[in-house]
Structure formats: C-alpha cells, structure tokens
Amino acid sequence: MAEAHPVGFQWVMEAKRRGAKVFHVDPRFTRTSAVADTYLPIRAGTDIALLGGVVRYILENELDFREYVLAYTNAAAVVSEQFLDTEDLDGLFSGYNTDTNSYDQASWQYEGQERNSGGEDTGKERDSAAGLEHESHGVPTSGRIRRDETLQHPRCVYQILRRHFSRYTPEMVERVCGIPQERFLELARAWTENSGRERTGALVYSVGWTQHSVGVQYIRTGAIIQTLLGNMGRPGGGILALRGHASIQGSTDIPTLFNLLPGYLPMPHHADHETFDDWVGSISRPGQKGFWGNSRAFAASLLKAYWGDAATPDNDFCYGYLPRMTGDHGTYQQVLKMIDGGIKGYFLLGQNPAVGSAHGKAQRLGMANLDWLVVRDLFLIESATFWKNSPEVATGEIVPQECRTEVFFLPAASHVEKEGTFTQTQRLLQWREKAVDAPGDARSELWFFYHLGRKLRERLADSPHPRDRALLDLTWDYPTHGDLAEPSAEAVLREINGYETASGRPLSAFTEARDDGSTAIGCWIYTGVYADGVNQAARRKSRHEQDWVAAEWGWAWPANRRTLYNRASADPQGRPWSERKRYVWWDPEKAEWTGYDVPDFEKNKPPTYRPPEDASGPDGIAGDDPFIMQSDGKAWLYAPSGVLDGPLPTHYEPAESPMRNPMYGQQANPARKVYENPVNPMNPSPPEAHSDVFPYVFTVSRLTEHHTAGGMSRTVRPLAELQPEMFVEVSPELAAEAGLAHLGWAHLVTGRSVIEAKVLVTDRLTPLRVDGRIIHQLWLPYHFGTEGLVTGDSANDLFGITLDPNVLIQESKVGTCDVRSGRRPTGPALLDLVADYRRRAGMTVDRRIPLVTTDAVGCDDAAGSTDQRSPEAAAGEKRGEDA
C-alpha cells in the first residue's frame, strides 16, 4: 500500500500512531513492510490457505462476535442435505459437471430450496461473468429459511464452515504458504483481539487478490473473517479494495463491460432474457425482498434515459434494441478472436493492452490482424505502434509491409483539460474543474463519442433498416459549448442522476425510480449526485470545517453513504454496540435512524419491525436485518449461489504452480476459465509431468514511480528518471543457484515468451520452505514497454491467459518460469528458445490441461500422471479425514 497507494497509506500510519498493529503479507518486502509491525512473506497464490487458517482459528476458539453473527449473518441457516463439501470430495463440491467443468448449484442451497438455483449448470454464468452483477447486491433467495439459533445443527452454515476449514491448521498454513506457525498465530491473535464489541479491524487488499484464478474467493475469505468478527458496517472495520486507477470504480458502476449495463444491471442473454419481463425477472424474482426488488423501476428508467420518448411501457421501453450476449465476449476471448481474424475494428480508449494485459504477444498479434484500430491516448503508446516497434517485429512475427491493420491515433485531452467526475476507491465521486484548453487536436472522450454519435445518426437518418432504430431513437441532444462544441459534462451527469420525464426535475434518491416511464435514470446507484439540480460531486467543504466523516466532500454512492451497511454498527435493538464505536443508531424519541453517516436503512423503520408474511421489496427486510441489498438482509458466510466456484473458498494452487496442492487431490480451481488455443499454452503443473522445466514462481506489481502500462509515467520525465530500467528482484540464494550477478542481466522464460531484465539481488525476497521443499520467488515491475523515455521488456508478456470463473479476470499475479543468466536471444533465435522449452515441457498442440485431478467424482483428467504430493501431504489428508 505504501508503494502503490502512498497517500492512502498515511491513514495506516495514523492508525499505527494511535496503537494499531499493522501486518503486511506480501511475497516481497516493500516500503509497507518496512513500517509494519510484522511482515509475513507468503508464497504467491496461497492467500486462501492463510485466511482459511484465520477462519479456523476463530471458529475453533469460538472467537466470533456471536451476537453479531447470530443476528446479522446466515450462520444459523440450514443447508440442503444434498450438499457435499471439499472435505467429502477431495477438493471439489457437490454438483461438479465434468463435461462443462462447472457447477450445478442445486445442492448448495438452503434446505428446502434446492430448486432455487434454477437447477442449471453455471457454465453460462461463467461466460457472462455474472458474478460482477453482484457488486452491489446479493443473488435472489426466496421463501422461509430454516434456522438453528443454537448453531448446533450439523448442516447449519456455522457447522459447515467449521468442517470445511478444519484442515486449515497452523501447520497446514506453514506447509502451504511458507509462513511459520508462530508468525501466523501472531496475526490470527492480533486480528481477533482487535475485533468485537469495543474494537474493529480493517482489511485492505489490491489487485494482488483479484488477479488470480480464484480471485473472487480470496475476497470471500476476507469477507467471512470480517463478518465473523463483526467488522462489517462499523467504523474502522470493513474491507477496502484499493483499486488502481483514478476512476476504475466508476468504470464498473457505469461500466464499459460487455456483461453489464449501468448500475450493475445485466446485459441481456439471448436465451434467458428474450423479453423485458424475462430480463427483469432474472434480476429480481416476484416477491423478492430487499432493495434489489425494485429492479423493474431501475431497468425501465435506464431504457427511458437511453431512448427517451420512443421508450414506452407498451413497447417495453425499447428493450428489443439492446444487443444480446450468447456467451463469453470478454476482452481475452476478443483478443483470441482477433488473432483468428474474427474482429474488424477495435477501439483503445486510454488503454494500453500491449503492455498492460496478460499475454502481451497475443494482444499484439491480435491488433496486427484487424481491419482498423482506433487508439485515443495522450502519448504514442505501444498499442499504437505495435506494427513498427514491438517484440514481434523484432522476431519477424509481425512484418510491417504485410500487416493490414489501419491505425488511427487520436490525441486525447488530459484530466485538467476537461471537466467531469472520477469515482475513487471508496465510491466517492469527485468533480474536476477544467483548468486549460486541450492542445491541438486533443479532445475529450466526451467530445469524440458525442460527435461520432452525431455523425452516425446523420448518416443513418434515412435508413430503412430496423437495426438502425436504436441509434436514431437514442436521446443524443446534449448541449455543447465553446468553439469546439464540447458537450456539457454536467448535462450528462444530470442524466446519470436521473430526472422526472414530465418536468425534467432531477431526482433526489433512487427510491423515486418508477417503472411506468415517468422517470429516466442513467445509473440508478448514482441517483442523488445531482439532487436539487446541484452538482453534489463538486462539493469541496474543507476537512477543517466538518467532522471526520466529511460528508460534504464530493458525493458517495449510494445516497452519499460513506460506510455501507452501517445499520450493522448498532445492535439488533438499534443501540451502538459500544460508545467508542458509535456510528449510526436508532433514536427512539424521534423514531428515526441517525448518526454521523447517512443511515444505510429506511430512515423510519424501527428495529422492532417484522415483515408481514407476504412482504416483498424493502418491506420484506426486518428492522434488525442490516444487509438490505441482500434478499434475506443477512451477510453471507456461506453463499448458496452467486459464486460459481463454490459456496465456500477453498485453497487451490494457481493455474501454474511448481507444487502439488498439499491440501486436496484437486490441484487448481476446477471451474476456472481456460482457453485451449495454440497461442496460449499454460506451463505444466503437477500432477502433470515436466513442471520442473519451469521451477520458479514469479509475481509482478507496481513501483511507486510508475503507473500500470507506463503510458502515463514512462513518458513523464521526473518519473522516468526515478525508475529508468526494467529489473528483476531475486534473493541471494536464487542468484547463487541460477548463477545471476547483481546488476547483470537475466532472462526469464515461460511457455509464451522470453523477457530480459537487470538483476537486483536483494534480501527483499526470501526463499520459502513449503511442504518440505524450497520455493524461490522472483519479482518484477510490469510497467515497461518499447515506447516512452525509458523502455524495457514487458513482464506481462510472460503470462498466459487463465481467468477467474466469476468475473473473467486473468491470473496475472502468479506464474511459473525459468530464469537464466545473461541477455535473451534476439530475432528468430528467441522463438527457438521458447519452442525448445515447450518441447521439454511437453507443451504439444494436442495436450489437454487436466482440470480435474482427483478421482472423487470418477473423472480424473490427470489419471496416469505421477502424483507428486509429498508423503507429508498424503498424511495431512488422512488427518483431515479423521477430524
């Protein structure tokens, strides 16, 4: 955090000054570790084993915040007797389909609700990254849930959790993660001691968690701990995702993602959502409880914002205009399709996949096989110049005279040359004022897309084709100003906020949304940002003039709430859990919720409110159920649906690992998204043979002085001077083993490519003793490329493409490689070297990656290969069975 989010880190230091203990878990010792109380080096890709160890520690010692857990979570819910755990199936859950490599979730449901999952296989949800829809809410449940308030029922969530995590012992944590038991226990003790009624603990993570083939489950494990300890919805608690880009939260809320529409409404699927009712019905079922029950109004209001007068209740608000998904249309699938010649045109808008995405070579080969490419950026980045200056030009794989891609580079306006909002990592929208005009032809995206749309509509004005109606009926009448006819960003923000269609009055809250066409809302979770016709995101009341919650600085979604689910900061009766941790509470005299923040609860719903039997929507949520976006008002320790790779997190090895999974026969996430494509060979991992060809683990992250793919930092003189060169950090032990010299050159090899880097021999990396052997890890920054003031090979070229099944994010925080002294070969010799490694590793074209590596379900894809688990591991399994 000190490296990649330095100014945010001041608050950690502030907390430390006041007595907080700071633990830093990272494969590499960084500036954060330097000031932490305890630094725990970890083997990359094993966080679930570590966190699972904490869950077990909490449960075995009964250190959970029991009152909170009983009242606010699904700990007491009883699960179907059809459910089988990873303890029963050697690392798989019940419902695994070996044909589709995905789960049917029926057996994961609560007792009596087995049919609720839709009884279908979840391969389709994986392809449409359906997990992302739940960023703002849980999935539907319905009916009464059987509960055992004593938490003794063998099939209640609490007991299932205990059994599931029983093998995550301190010894196991040490064996899997390489963290000594005493250090682990120190962490577990501090975390639990600093949670409960009087104290709260916070958890902070970054893409070190999301960029894994089990990324969502990493975060789930963190959420389980924070929920068990009563740290959610309370001041000083919670889970904070430290996201990496100025408005990456905004890019998810108002997504430019294939599977989402604004406000986490799903993009329709051709088979499931043929009609408007099908679509809305899939978001909230009839009788759905919680705020998501209003989804019909949110959906109708979005279509009304898009298609204005043309959208009426009679034509389902032009629902028919929306394009439909038929499967996976994600960025990686697109790139493989480009290589096969299936895509004509590609827009890159302030994005540099040639350096920033996994498998840089696939990215560049894809771009080289388009009809046309539009790059909009501040600088001539690698993704604009791949046809003349890229590693593939050097190897002869891209020949400029033979590359047909027509490239348009359009200069973009910078953040000070346009106005608009960024949504930062705490969901806070901050409006930026424009300082100066953009130079020359540089324009904002707002300008480009507004005028592009204008031109398209002009050309199609007389079109007879029904397919052009969606463009022609689009509301696209934004006011413009100045010589360049820049569209008004405030007018767009007003549409995002939403308005009453008859009067144009801006809405104040999403509770005003209607499904009869009387409201238009561009992104319902942002409703209120333009309340009373005032740009609330532009508020800049000094921190010196307001309290610590600073509610008048910018605007946070939803409804300017700074801490989500803050009803949980009070006990079921509505009283603060403790005076120290007072935040939001029930005022019986005024009969309303009050406190420092905007209460995340209906203002006048008393703690004693009990929903009538047939209540739906918000009325179905009781006065002591704080998790109001969940259909049952509870925080989910166990997720009966919504998470595609298991109702509980399980330690799987990364897709590429030098180790056999010490915990289960199942090696890696059996539901991960793989692309069997000749351009995308994955290095073998046990139990497959030849994993020893790539014996080392590598991981990548950021330098303080650079930003992602380098387009905004390698081009900036002071930053380029501070970090001028690509390098690789290795431990002294690895340097000795591989014959690497400090400040000399080394090259790293994977089944995809070879890159070179200067060697930095340093104690910041340390060999780990894992499951009876030594694992060496290498670390690289991933900012370098062939353009800019400082250049170097791209670390992301080393990765292949394997994705998390829930959100289709790639595993680019861990892989296996070999490292050799000296510079890499150049030209065709480089390709020969990679080919030689592939040959030695058995990475032939007809090789199939074994997704199932246990015979627990009668289908061991890896049958016949050598099981490389240590005797210790096998013994551990035995112990697990006995427990």
Partner: protein, 189 residues
C-alpha cells in the same frame, strides 16, 4: 556590510537565534529566495481537480497562468489526502505539459511503414464509415431459434479507467445503441 550584519546574515546564526530552529524556513532564506514569488501566488486561476493516477483520489489544485498549467499541488482541504501527493501525483504537471504528448492525429495506412498526418474531422468521418461498414458486414438480427440478437461482433473496445463517468456513460450508450457488445474496460483486468 558591517561585521554584525554579516554575522546576522548567516543562516546558522539565524537558525540558532530566530524562530526557525530546524532551519527549514526563514533561517534558510537567502536574499534571492526572499525576493522570489511562488508561481501559485501569481496564477490567473486555480482549478480544483483530482489526481489522474491511482484510485486514492487525492485532491489537486491546478494553477494556471496565461492559459498554461504552471503548477499542480495537493489540495490541503481534501479529507482524503490532506494536501499530499505521491511522486506520481506530484509529477502531474509534467504529465499534462509533457513535450512527448501527441497533439495531432496520426494515421497509419494498411501495410505502411510510417505514420501520416490526417485532419481530425476527416479521421472521425473515416471512423464513422468503418463502423457502419463493420456493422453492415457482421450484423446479427436473430439467433438460430429466431430470438433477437441485435448486435455486431465485428467491433471491440477496451477503455482505460482514467476516463470520466460521463465519458463512460456516453461510450456505453452509443456502443450499445449501435449493437456493439464487445465493450470492455481495465476493470476486467
């Protein structure tokens, strides 16, 4: 200059006797630095902005003189950053004023080995032509079962996460209306 004035002019003397024992302010000032005026004091205007790099969202004040950015500093009022900026945020002025910035359209013809110039208006027109052609060639009305698809899979987009919400809103709205489904963002990465 008398001896006394000479001695009193010594920074170390001022540091020991004056109000600045750490020597970080008045004591370290020379006649030259005392006569300097900060760019921030003479700026024509100040825009309140936000750092464009990571998602912490540090407040920035952008100082402008004669239509040019002369300085970017942390905003002391911000409850998030309390006036601080990290090396990247502090380098934002160098970012927006970088001589490497492209300010004209560049065009690479198929099979060409060099860039050419192109007028912005022409470039947008050419892009509009190509979008319409790609839609024409790859449009899908319905699936095999006659259910609507309304889309083109001939067009892709990948956006960065330094775009404004308002920009993303128009991007998604326009692409969706033209039937382009394969619209992605750094948020997937």
């Amino acid at each position: 200059m008398g001896l006394r004035t000479f001695i009193q002019g010594w920074p170390v003397y001022r540091q020991l006797t004056g109000t600045d024992p750490l020597g970080r302010g008045a004591a370290a000032q020379s006649a030259r630095s005392a006569a300097l005026t900060a760019r921030t004091e003479t700026a024509d205007s100040v825009a309140r902005s936000v750092c464009p790099y990571c998602a912490v969202g540090c407040g920035q004040r952008v100082f402008v003189t004669d239509g040019r950015v002369t300085q970017i500093e942390g905003d002391p009022d911000s409850p998030i950053s309390r006036g601080r900026l990290c090396p990247k945020g502090s380098a934002s002025k160098s970012l927006v004023t970088s001589p490497l910035r492209q300010t004209t359209v560049r065009y690479r013809r198929p099979y060409a080995t060099e860039w050419e110039d192109l007028d912005l208006e022409t470039a947008v027109d050419m892009i509009a032509d190509r979008i319409l052609a790609a839609r024409e060639e790859t449009w899908e009305d319905v699936d095999d079962a006659g259910r609507p698809l309304n889309r083109t899979l001939g067009i892709s987009s990948l956006g960065g996460a330094t775009l404004d919400n308002e920009e993303n809103y128009l991007i998604k709205k326009l692409f969706t209306a033209m039937g382009a489904l394969q619209i992605e963002n750094q948020a997937r990465i």
